[in-house]
């Protein structure tokens, strides 16, 4: 069963992150790299991506003739996807355990950031016997 583990943040969260010390940022990046590698070693890794910061984000709608209309204005409260992992595991509980590990990514001063990770199942064409 494939699950996506998503890390979200508001613009304020991203601004906070930008203020971290270089050391703290490097520790966080190192954690992410090591975490992905662990998932690969465990044979559950499917994909991971980090996304560009929300100041670059655009909402696109189609004009009547299909021309893209872009808009860069978002509500303050909007949560932006910062990055995700996709894992292939045998149960939702296994996915939550992996998410808990991701949540422990280090923040300022090296303490666990305890960032919330949203876990959703990825739709597919494979068997859904459930039991």
């Amino acid at each position: 069963m494939k699950y996506i583990l998503m890390m979200n943040g508001t613009k304020a969260h991203f601004s906070e992150y930008a203020k971290w010390s270089k050391k703290d940022m490097e520790a966080n990046v190192a954690f992410m790299r090591a975490f992905s590698k662990q998932l690969k070693d465990e044979g559950v890794y499917v994909a991971t991506e980090g996304l560009g910061w929300p100041d670059q984000a655009k909402l696109v709608r189609a004009d009547k003739d299909g021309t893209p209309i872009t808009d860069g204005v978002f509500p303050e409260s909007k949560e932006f996807l910062a990055g995700y992992w996709i894992v292939d595991v045998e149960s939702p509980e296994q996915a939550y355990k992996i998410a808990a590990r991701a949540s422990a990514a280090p923040g300022p001063g090296g303490a666990s950031s305890n960032v919330p990770i949203e876990v959703r199942q990825v739709l597919g064409s494979h068997s859904d016997l459930g039991l």
């Binding site: 996506i4 709608r61 932006f80 996807l81 960032v115 990825v122």
Partner: protein, 129 residues
């Protein structure tokens, strides 16, 4: 350059979608399938995924005694990710163009849904996976 095109919705929005007629659902899916085929042929298609509804979603925050702490509450009005496309394109404008194709896909009665598609650049940390 890789971009991710995010399609989001609310519970109300999804409840409306599942009530579309079969003809409208088919028409919508056909347009999107066509787009995927084109993007595959042009070499721009990297991937697409649909996500299960957030009734199925859990938010995990840290651990207590080794067990994940979970919270399954999703506010009614909250926007959640329905799915995404990842495309590999030469310019940001091309990414917008593709997003626009998704946005113009037809809804009930053949009228374009005009859904807003969020476009973000992918800046992967990982060594090429």
């Amino acid at each position: 350059m890789k971009y991710i095109l995010l399609m989001s919705g609310t519970k109300a929005g999804v409840d409306t979608y599942v009530a579309w007629s079969k003809k409208d659902i088919d028409a919508h899916m056909t347009v999107l399938k066509c787009l995927n085929k084109e993007l595959t042929e042009s070499g721009e298609f990297v991937g697409t995924e649909g996500l299960a509804r957030p009734d199925q979603a859990i938010v995990v925050r840290g651990q207590k005694a080794g067990m994940p702490i979970t919270d399954g509450i999703f506010p009614e009005a909250k926007e959640f990710l329905l799915g995404y496309w990842i495309v590999d394109v030469k310019t940001r404008e091309r990414a917008y163009e593709i997003a626009s194709r998704i946005s113009i896909a037809p809804g009930p009665g053949g009228v374009p849904t005009n859904m807003p598609i969020e476009v973000r650049q992918i800046v992967s940390l990982s060594a090429k996976s």
